[in-house]
């Protein structure tokens, strides 16, 4: 018995090659699209997380600093209106049997080009003044706000800066928006709000 004859024209036909190539390109394109979307999402998430982290860290620092302050020494003392800076003194504990208070400190918003900064200052205005920038990613205005004399973001404040303080009795409401344009032109914004009570 003889073996069956095999055709000399082995391999894919042109149609097969075209179909396979189209399919392969489609799969790769889809994979690339998925990858890009996932990376974009991860990048967004990472950026958002990074700014939220930074916003929370800054907010915690501000909160802890103000929490230990003496309500009577807070400047300005204007209630219900928002300000973008606050001056305070806090307790250092007992020395020689008496409560000792710190030198005055200030936390303020400094507007810059595109973004602003949060500055912490010790002995503000004095010769021995010390200053540290806690963040330079502060939005010029709080998220959702525009300079138009209206309360655009519905928080009861008009045209508030990216860092704002509102005194309500012994409560201080602190609002902060960080923002930064990403390399692809997207604008990532993160806002946090914190309420602290003056403990002294």
């Amino acid at each position: 018995m003889r073996a069956p004859h095999r055709s000399a024209r082995s391999g894919w036909t042109l149609v097969e090659v075209v179909l396979a190539s189209t399919f392969t390109v489609g799969v790769f394109a889809k994979a690339a699209f998925v990858m890009e979307s996932a990376l974009g999402l991860a990048s967004d998430e990472t950026a958002s997380m990074h700014y939220e982290d930074q916003a929370r860290r800054v907010m915690d620092r501000i909160g802890l600093a103000i929490m230990g302050s003496d309500r009577e020494t807070l400047m300005p003392q204007i209630e219900e209106l928002h300000t973008n800076s606050i001056r305070y003194s806090f307790s250092l504990g007992l020395e020689d049997g008496e409560v000792v208070w710190s030198a005055p400190e200030e936390i303020r918003f400094q507007n810059g080009v595109g973004t602003g900064a949060i500055e912490w200052r010790e002995n503000p205005g004095a010769a021995e003044e010390r200053r540290v920038v806690w963040s330079n990613l502060v939005s010029p205005l709080l998220e959702g706000e525009e300079v138009n004399g209206l309360d655009d973001n519905g928080n009861g404040l008009i045209d508030e800066d990216g860092l704002s303080f509102v005194l309500e009795g012994n409560r201080i409401v602190i609002r902060l928006t960080l923002r930064r344009p990403e390399v692809d032109g997207r604008l990532v914004e993160e806002s946090v709000e914190h309420v602290v009570y003056c403990r002294n």
Partner: protein, 596 residues
């Protein structure tokens, strides 16, 4: 037929490559998302642990702060044995300052979170006067000394003699306490943490005794900054008057038969103060208190006289800031209503210098037959008042706490099951309570709080921690709930029958409780001693007569005399007489029944 196998066709497919690549892409994406997710979780955990640690530290501070309102020390747990709460642990360190302020610092650990918060507060009315009679070094009492108590806000000392208020004396030391024979201590003794109490026979201690959990720290005297005039040696016939306000002298030497009057309100600073023979010193506190600060030496000679114009003990205060090793001598004849504070000085007090108030010093030489009466009103009464809050702050973490952010139980090598909650982790103290227990019986406890079972307390009548009353009803003086009847304690003491007879005769008329206790005493009083006491207290109450009927001290004849003296007898007493075992002799019984 031969079968021929054909070679398999070449497989050049790329499915495997595609599959592997796809799996790799998916794996990389999954790993990326996992890392992202873990990073988010870790970040949230750190944040939440820190918040939890802050909350725990706040809770710890609140526990210590409210503890100060009930005379706790403010120390809750330690780093070695912290308190456990909500899955974390915490401890509070309290520092008491001479200014009266207390600084609390609470460190809390939860997971990777750490926080230390502090506050400064001022407990209401705390002070060294709560220590009563206290010495920093060993306290040795000479024979026949009497130390007791009264409350000047209620009435005079004489009115409160042999009442419950007379039985709340507070004697303490950071070292040993030796009680000589003939001493009468109407109250409690608290000796040093490593000290001992030795009691000679023939002495009476009506209260309890205990070691203090830790040494008392006596704050230094803060002398007001008053300029000193040159020394004065006064020998005039007209009294020298120091007017109200502030005054200072390098020395005040009051000569023979001369008088010095200190008119309050006055702060007087002297380097030395001497009262010569017959000299007089008067604290005129009619218009305000007098605070006398002595920088170096004080000598009241034996025949000098010191007096106070009022009996308000908190108005006449002597602060001795003399350096260590200096002695001050209160040899004068006096009934001094005030408080003496000499944390570094050896204080000599003569038998004729009778002190009503309090005394805290480094060392005390109280002459034989000396008398000191602690004024309970000098002791702080908190009545649950919360301390005044001065400041709150976030404290920098201690280095040993901040260093390693791992599970705190693992870090400190502790088992949470071995730790107590904050409410049970307060520093141990000497507790003095009188209460009605769950079975309705009024009873007292004096000793370390760690050894006391609070669950047996039905209702509290009186409570003191380390000499500071944290529970004192407004009418406590009237209710008599603060302490036992001192005469009952006397009966229960180790006094001999004769000594007890003398003490009870001196205190007569005695309370019914004391007479009942005397009749039923174990070991019994001698027949003649008990009969003398009963005779001195005629007419006797039915309860006393019932106790006399069953008393092992009285034989048939002596009991007959007592019954005849108190006839006609109540029915229940007659019943008890008829049922007595051993019975009265027929002749005695006949005499008793005939007279009814």
């Amino acid at each position: 037929m031969r079968t021929r196998f054909l070679p398999a066709p070449e497989r050049r497919g790329s499915a495997l490559v595609f599959s592997v690549m796809s799996v790799m892409v998916v794996s990389i994406l999954a790993a990326g998302f996992l890392q992202l997710s873990m990073s988010v979780t870790r970040r949230l955990n750190v944040y939440s642990d820190t918040q939890q640690a802050i909350n725990l530290a706040e809770a710890g501070l609140a526990e210590a702060y409210s503890g100060l309102a009930v005379a706790r020390t403010g120390n809750v747990g330690t780093m070695e044995a912290p308190a456990v709460l909500g899955g974390g642990l915490l401890w509070v360190e309290a520092e008491h300052h001479a200014s009266g302020l207390v600084e609390l610092e609470c460190t809390a650990m939860y997971g990777t979170g750490r926080a230390t918060l502090g506050l400064v507060c001022e407990p209401v009315g705390l002070g060294v006067a709560s220590l009563g009679f206290f010495t920093d070094e060993d306290l040795r009492l000479n024979p026949d000394v009497r130390l007791d108590s009264y409350d000047s806000k209620v009435s005079t000392y004489a009115d409160q003699l042999n009442t419950a208020l007379n039985n709340k004396g507070s004697i303490g030391s950071n070292g040993d306490v030796s009680v000589a024979s003939g001493n009468t201590i109407m109250g409690d003794i608290v000796y040093g943490p490593t000290g001992q109490l030795s009691v000679a026979s023939g002495s009476v201690i009506t209260g309890g005794s205990s070691a203090r959990p830790e040494e008392e720290v006596l704050p230094p005297v803060v002398v007001p900054d008053i300029p000193l005039q040159k020394a004065v040696k006064y020998t005039g016939g007209i009294p020298m008057v120091v007017p109200p306000g502030q005054a200072g002298y390098a020395g005040l030497d009051i000569g023979k038969n001369s008088t010095l009057i200190l008119k309050g309100p006055l702060d007087l600073v002297v380097n030395s103060l001497i009262l010569r023979l017959g000299a007089k010193l008067e604290f005129d506190t009619t218009n305000g208190p007098v605070q006398l600060f002595v920088n170096e030496s004080l000598d009241f000679s034996t025949s000098s006289v010191v007096s106070t114009s009022t009996q308000v003990t908190s108005d006449s205060l002597i602060f001795v800031a003399a350096p260590e090793g200096k002695s001050v001598n209160f040899g004068a004849k006096s009934q001094f209503y005030g408080f003496i504070y000499a944390p570094n000085a050896d204080v000599h007090i003569s038998a004729q210098y009778e002190l009503y108030g309090g005394l805290v010093c480094k060392e005390l030489q109280l002459a034989a037959q000396g008398k000191m009466h602690y004024d309970l009103s000098l002791g702080a009464t908190l009545s649950g008042q919360l301390p005044i809050l001065h400041s709150w702050r976030v404290v920098e973490l201690p280095q040993q706490v901040a260093a390693r952010r791992i599970d705190p139980f693992q870090l400190l090598g502790l088992d949470p099951n071995d730790l107590l909650p904050p409410a049970q982790s307060h520093q141990d103290q000497v507790l003095d309570v009188r209460y009605v227990d769950t079975s309705g019986r009024t009873t007292s406890y004096f000793g370390l709080e760690s050894e006391f079972d609070w669950s047996q307390v039905g209702s509290l009548l009186y409570g003191v921690r380390d000499g500071i009353a944290f529970y004192l009803p407004e009418d406590y003086a009237l209710s008599g709930d603060v302490a036992n009847d001192p005469l009952v304690d006397l009966v229960d003491s180790s006094l001999s029958s004769k000594q007890l007879r003398d003490a009870l005769l001196a205190a007569s008329p005695c309370s019914t409780e004391a007479l009942v206790a005397a009749c039923l005493r174990d070991p019994p009083m001698s027949q003649s001693d008990l009969k003398s006491v009963l005779d001195a207290n005629d007419p006797l109450a039915p309860q006393t007569l019932l106790s006399a009927v069953t008393s092992p001290s009285l034989d048939s004849s002596a009991l007959k005399d007592v019954l005849l003296d108190n006839s006609p007898l109540p029915t229940e007493v007659l019943d008890a007489v008829l049922l007595r075992n051993p019975p009265l002799s027929p002749s005695d019984l006949t005499k008793v029944l005939t007279i009814q």
